[in-house]
């Protein structure tokens, strides 16, 4: 028996008429990190779900540790030594780290004939487990007090507490900033040193070269190829993923008229998170906000948009001084904001794509407060066409769409208000390369027609690619302003991490 070996033999998964995975065969070598690549809807998640016991293959065989397995539920996968770390964190925020790690199997002790939780042992065990993985956190701390990166690490510690031989990582870095990613990678390398086999899903190309040993590429549910990372280039992987679609590059740099700003922010203050932030945004400009997670990027945008209150500073929008912005009043003035966590706050999941596309423009398209779906139809159709949103039926709930298409709905929702200024907060997170490119192209097109926007991304390559000008935030302060054509990725990383040019 080989510990940690995984083999798919001619596996097919069919949902109704849709073939999610078609005759997939591949053997994953034990003790290595295997990246699973493919655009959204290529079948990566389906493959991982089969391994996790969440779904069963329609046809074909799954072999784990040299034996054929049939998983009827996640429990069976656990028993076979397979544990999954999901993209969305599954921790209970109001409980402590220790409780989360041992949730559902808290150690017990007997006191006076009754059974109670053995807190001492729980915390000691949790502390030892974390120390073992190079993590120095108090097991009694509540999860909600941790950074997203720390939470992700706790999630992995929890997974490792089951002592699995196979670990499935579904986009563990999608919410992390560079230094947190580095820490996570250290953790992952430790696990590899112990012989844990890992399957790693990501959309971040550069991570592959850093962490993965091999890369398996899927396209439309089919196995396209597998390659050793040392033999691969990002071009060769993209070629495999997309079948030779060329990546769009931004149009030639335009000159932006910087005589009169459309948005001026001076000495913006929000206690503890934003300190003395000043910047100008000009007509037709795409301004990039770079910085680590927690550097105040989102907080600045939310304060200007009025989603959060601020404690001081001046905001001048289109010549008008704004005292107390609210989302409602700023929308009326022509500002739009697509939030970073679209699933939670960007969309009303129970409503249809149609309704979500008309959410922000709800009063605009209506006549005297009356809604007319025929009146709305052109607005809906225009966004679906312009943003190439793939939506089978606009009246179906928006929750049925893929991540990239949901993100486009969020953007379309705001473009329907015909804004003068747009704040795009992490519009590219967790979506495939093609959808990303399309979203960037929309931003450039709109900029050509005079829309000013602020673009936030944790991926500095994207900020360099998309923005006309970049402001770097560090611990809630503006520490640098750079031009993308004069800055290398390494330099930008350095400023973001160290807080000085």
């Amino acid at each position: 028996m080989v510990r940690g070996a995984i083999e798919f033999r001619d596996v097919t998964k069919v949902y109704g008429p849709t073939v999610a995975i078609g005759r997939f065969s591949h053997a994953f070598e034990p003790g290595r990190i295997h990246a699973l690549m493919g655009k959204n809807g290529s079948g990566k998640s389906t493959l991982v779900k089969m391994l996790a016991g969440a779904i069963e293959p329609t046809l074909g065989e799954l072999w784990v540790n040299g034996a054929r397995v049939r998983f009827e539920g996640p429990r069976d996968a656990y028993a076979a030594g397979i544990v999954t770390v999901h993209q969305e964190l599954s921790l209970v925020r109001s409980l402590s780290i220790g409780e989360n790690i041992y949730l559902g199997r808290l150690p017990k002790k007997h006191v006076m004939g009754g059974t109670v939780v053995d807190w001492q042992r729980l915390n000691d065990d949790a502390r030892a487990l974390m120390a073992d993985m190079g993590l120095d956190l108090d097991p009694r701390a509540l999860v909600e007090t941790l950074s997203v990166g720390q939470q992700q690490a706790v999630e992995i510690v929890k997974a490792m507490s089951f002592a699995p031989s196979i670990l499935l990582l579904d986009e563990p870095t999608s919410a992390l900033a560079a230094p947190e990613v580095a820490q996570l990678f250290n953790l992952i390398r430790r696990l590899r040193a112990r012989g844990v086999t890992m399957i790693y899903i990501t959309h971040r190309m550069n991570e592959l070269f850093e962490i993965a040993d091999t890369c398996v590429v899927l396209r439309d549910g089919h196995f396209v190829g597998a390659t050793e990372m040392k033999d691969a280039t990002s071009a060769s992987i993209v070629e495999m993923m997309f079948g030779g679609v060329s990546m769009a590059k931004r149009p030639a740099r335009r000159s932006v008229d910087r005589s009169r700003p459309i948005l001026s922010v001076r000495n913006l203050q929000r206690d503890d998170v934003v300190h003395d932030v000043s910047f100008d945004l000009y007509r037709g400009e795409v301004l990039g906000f770079a910085g680590l997670l927690g550097s105040g990027r989102t907080e600045v945008l939310r304060a200007v948009f009025g989603a959060d209150p601020h404690d001081g500073g001046a905001i001048v929008f289109d010549g008008e001084t704004i005292e107390r912005p609210t989302p409602k009043s700023m929308k009326k003035r022509g500002l739009g904001y697509t939030p970073e966590n679209r699933k939670e706050v960007g969309l009303v999941q129970v409503l249809s794509s149609h309704d979500n596309l008309c959410l922000a423009s709800i009063g605009r398209i209506a006549r005297h407060g009356l809604i007319d779906r025929r009146l709305e139809q052109p607005f809906v159709d225009r966004q679906i066409r312009d943003l190439s949103i793939r939506v089978p039926d606009p009246m179906d709930p928006v929750s049925s769409l893929s991540g990239g298409n949901q993100q486009k709905i969020v953007i379309g929702n705001w473009l329907n208000t015909e804004p003068k200024v747009m704040f795009f907060d992490e519009p590219s997170r967790g979506i495939d390369v093609q959808a990303k490119q399309q979203i960037f192209e929309i931003m450039w097109q709109k900029a050509e027609r005079g829309l000013s926007s602020i673009f936030v991304s944790s991926e500095l390559e994207e900020v360099l690619e998309v923005a006309d000008r970049i402001i770097v935030l560090y611990h809630g302060r503006v520490v640098a302003e750079v031009l993308p054509e004069e800055t290398t990725l390494a330099e930008l990383y350095k400023i973001c991490m160290e807080g000085s040019p």
Binding site: K328, M330, P339, E344, G346, L347, L359, A360, I362
Partner: protein, 324 residues
């Protein structure tokens, strides 16, 4: 068309029209087995009974879709009747019958509206769940209603006032007209106005709605205020029907109203529901109660059956949701 496609369409329409089908089955059953059910007189009687319930339930549907709840509507209805009775009692001789009823009615509607505004504002300013605030109001308003009447029924209405609750117009009970008007108005409001769309958005995801520049608090407050006013309207009709303002009138009505709303498919989690569904829920409750009485089912068994129906309706909705 393939059988698979047909069964899929069948399943989808079953999901959409499940409540209609069940109500139809119930009516057919009652026509067959409940003596006297299938008469025009009984039918109108059922409609009259459910009118008081339905008028409030349409408002409650909006409140629940917006992600809130209102437990105070029974008390508000009781208070409304008492206010009209109080004004008639004290001022009818002074200002005349019609002005007294008119002033009483306007005052009652305004107070109903204001209780909703109050609940909404408490929610907005102090983030107190509407469940708590309206639970407090449920108790307090009931007390106020009894204070207004002094604890005794107040049969002080002018003689023609009974018409609104107990009279017929062209052979149809007057409250049924009110029910119809409120139904059309609320259906229109929820389906064809931006306010209605905002209610769905706010209940489906309050933060997303806020970030889309929708005034969440105003939306919820208005839904609550409309429901408060409708509760008052229903209370006035009830008082008219029984001929006096009674402080304990409409006790427990909030539970019937919420039951009808839920049976009609509105989700307590917010964001989902239809006024039409609530109408079906109201009719369903009315037919069940009427049918069981006609079949001489004991009152205690009626409670048991209704409890089962509420749970069954929610289970059915959940199961249908899964089928899809």
């Amino acid at each position: 068309m393939s059988t698979a496609a047909m069964s899929r369409i069948g399943a989808t329409s079953l999901k959409i029209y499940a409540m209609e089908v069940i109500l139809l089955i119930l009516v057919v059953f009652l026509i067959a087995f409940a003596p006297g059910f299938a008469t025009l007189g009984n039918f109108l009687n059922v409609l009259r009974t459910v009118s008081m319930l339905g008028i409030i339930a349409f408002g409650m549907t909006a409140v629940i879709i917006s992600g809130e709840i209102d437990l105070s509507i029974g008390a508000t209805a009781g208070l409304a009747g008492c206010i009209v009775a109080f004004v008639c009692d004290g001022y009818m001789d002074m200002i005349g019958e019609v002005p007294a009823v008119l002033i009483g009615t306007i005052a009652a509607l305004a107070i109903g509206f204001c209780t909703g505004v109050f609940t909404g504002k408490i929610r907005q300013w102090f983030n107190v769940p509407t469940f708590i605030t309206t639970l407090a109001l449920f108790t307090a308003i009931r007390g106020i209603a009894n204070l207004v009447t002094g604890g005794f029924p107040m049969p002080s209405f002018p003689s023609w006032f009974y018409f609104f609750g107990a009279g017929n117009l062209f052979g149809v009970p007057f409250p049924v007209y009110v029910l119809a008007v409120v139904f059309v108005a609320m259906h229109f409001l929820m389906k064809y106005t931006s306010f209605g769309r905002a209610i769905y958005a706010v209940g489906g995801n309050a933060e997303a709605a806020r970030l889309s520049g929708i005034d969440v608090s105003l939306t919820k407050t208005l839904a609550l205020a409309i429901t408060g006013a409708l509760a008052a309207l229903s209370g006035i009709l009830l008082a008219s029907q029984v001929g006096s303002g009674i402080g304990t009138m409409a006790t427990g009505m909030e539970l019937d109203v919420i039951s009808a709303t839920i049976i009609g498919g509105t989700s307590l989690f917010g964001g989902k529901g239809r006024i039409w569904g609530t109408l079906l829920g109201v009719l369903f409750l009315g037919c069940i109660a009427n049918g069981m009485t006609l079949m001489n089912v004991s009152e205690y068994w009626q409670y048991v059956v209704r409890g089962g129906i509420i749970l069954g309706a929610v289970l059915l909705n959940q199961i249908l949701e899964r089928i899809r």
